[in-house]
Amino acid sequence: MNQTKRKGAASLLLNVKRYWPLYVMFIPGAIYMIINNYMPMAGLVVAFKQYNARKGIFGSPFIGLKNFEFLFKTPDAYVITRNTILYNVVFIVLNITLSVIFAIMITDTAKKFLQKTYQSMILFPYLMSSVILSYIVFAFLSSDNGIMNNSILPALGMSKINWYSEPKYWPFILVFVNAWKGVGYGCLIFISNINSIDLELYEAADLDGASRLQKIKYITMPFLKTSIITLVLVNVGHIFYSDFGLFYQVPRNSGLLFPTTNVIDTYVYRGLMENNNIGMSAAAGFYQSVVGFVIVILANWIVGKFDEDSTLF
């Protein structure tokens, strides 16, 4: 390729001389990434140390696997791992299923302006910060002022519920909030996929007398298959990470809810900032980084099997 452009067979040195400003352009961002990304990678070593603020990460003494021993002796290690993974599994299945269903409905809507309205409305909650989500949920669930306890439950003849101190309701609340916020994202991806399907296929199917469901099953779904698998795998790649805001802000950091709202990210944050337990926090963070890395690599490798264009590398 590009044979004509390579006619001079410029040597490496000449190329470097010609392009040196490009390296200069690259430098500011590279410095930022060294500070923001690469130094913390090296800083992961803090998980094996007894951290001392005065000595810094690299000056603090090594204590081997002590932090990990402490972490895995507590029941927390199991709870946060279980919560992180289970929530993610439910989020992936529910959000992608709803996204596909709504995407099909939206693209089938006959009126163009309704199509446009639906698809922009459904994305809107995705733009909200988790602090705002927390306020919105609070307006529904606040024990004293919430619309649930004041209007909806009494109307149904049910007694009030102390939402922020009853862990059992939170898996449902968080799954709902996450779907409310996130479905529009997947929806948009599938809509653009469906719009790229050749309309003649549907017309041909119409001529053959195919039913609505048959067209979805034999034309739309096969087209969406690659995107669905890719999106699932990309999300699976992040299965060890959670949306910190969803689990920290929406339950309003309520300690009584930790059994069902504590995930690795919130645990790491609380260890570091609230409980002053940097050792265990660092160990949990290290565990997340390393296991997360392995899972990303695996997921990406599997993505490559389905669709080479969708891999990250």
């Binding site: 590009n2 961002g29 990304n37 800083g43 992961l44 990460i57 309704l114 809107f124 619309i147 890395f293």
Partner: protein, 296 residues
């Protein structure tokens, strides 16, 4: 687009479902807004409601009249969003352009350097210790601006892909023959022709800065004048939590905790700009999501 006879039933069905979906999306925002214009005494007796017994603009009057703190936080949010977005897009474009030049020696290594940050990260603890312990961003504007969101590999990859697919390399060569240097090519060809992707990535980063509350949570400890609007909202939540756990709060906390109606009004004021610019930026934002999906 696929209408034909006998489809009225199906159209009715999907429109009904979608209208219900839209209602489920809109109602929470409506409740937030209604709560902010409900009179405080009604709020305390009847709670939040879609149909408040008594309206009042007192919460908004309070924000305008007496709260310097809210204006300050709003100012921080606006400054962060403006500076952060420009810096973010510029840094990413400056990294993306070299990566789009196929004959640049060392390009593969540079691409891997950017890309690897998407696969592996040190997480909160080392990031916090390094930004704080080594670079001392705590309680400075830098603490809000720099960590995490200033430049992401994702933006670089998206912009790079656009440059390689949408700007023909022959343009660069023609400019070089005319004697233009690389910086000139970047500012006169790459930036103008890359505008669609730069605006798209700008909407993402603008939203990220507008919505960010984590940097304030981690890096702003004492100097509360550096709080952005999200941090202010977050602080009111934690003060309420403290109150419910301890049964009491310090006078400083009490002063920082406005009435419930005012809290809802601040929350509404924080999302109002997003609502206002959404129609104009939707196209770019949506484009970013669908293009991004193709590449992972």
């Amino acid at each position: 687009m696929k209408t034909r006879k006998g489809e009225t039933g199906y159209q009715l069905f999907i429109n009904t479902v979608m209208i219900i979906v839209v209602i489920i999306i809109v109602l929470p925002f409506l409740l937030l807004f209604m709560s902010s214009i409900t009179e405080e005494s009604v709020l305390l007796t009847n709670g939040y409601s879609f149909f408040p017994a008594k309206f009042s603009a007192a919460s908004y009057a309070y924000i305008i009249r007496s709260s310097q703190k809210i204006f300050q936080a709003y100012g921080i949010t606006i400054a962060l969003t403006a500076i952060g977005t420009i810096a973010n897009v510029l840094l990413a474009a400056l990294m993306a352009y070299p990566l789009s030049i196929k004959r640049l020696p060392g390009r593969k290594i540079m691409a891997f350097f950017v890309f690897f940050t998407m696969l592996f990260n040190g997480g909160l603890v080392p990031s916090y210790l390094i930004w704080n312990g080594v670079f001392h961003v705590k309680d400075t504007f830098w603490g809000q601006l720099l960590p995490n969101i200033l430049c992401s590999a994702w933006n670089v990859v998206m912009i790079r892909t656009y440059f390689t697919t949408s700007i023909p390399e022959s343009l660069y060569e023609a400019a070089e023959i005319d004697g233009a240097g690389q910086f000139r090519i970047f500012s006169k060809i790459v930036l103008p022709l890359g505008k669609p992707i730069l605006v798209t990535m700008g909407t993402f980063s603008g939203l990220a800065y507008w919505n960010d509350w984590t940097n304030g949570l981690y890096y702003i400890q004492q100097k509360k004048t550096l709080f952005n609007i999200q941090n202010l909202l977050n602080q009111m939540v934690s003060n309420l939590q403290y109150l419910s756990q301890q049964g009491t709060m310090t006078s400083e906390m009490a002063a920082a905790l406005p009435r419930t109606g005012v809290q809802m009004a601040i929350a509404f004021v924080a999302i109002l700009p997003i609502m206002l610019v959404f129609p104009f930026f939707y196209k770019y934002y949506a484009k970013g999501i669908t293009v991004g999906a193709v590449k992972g």
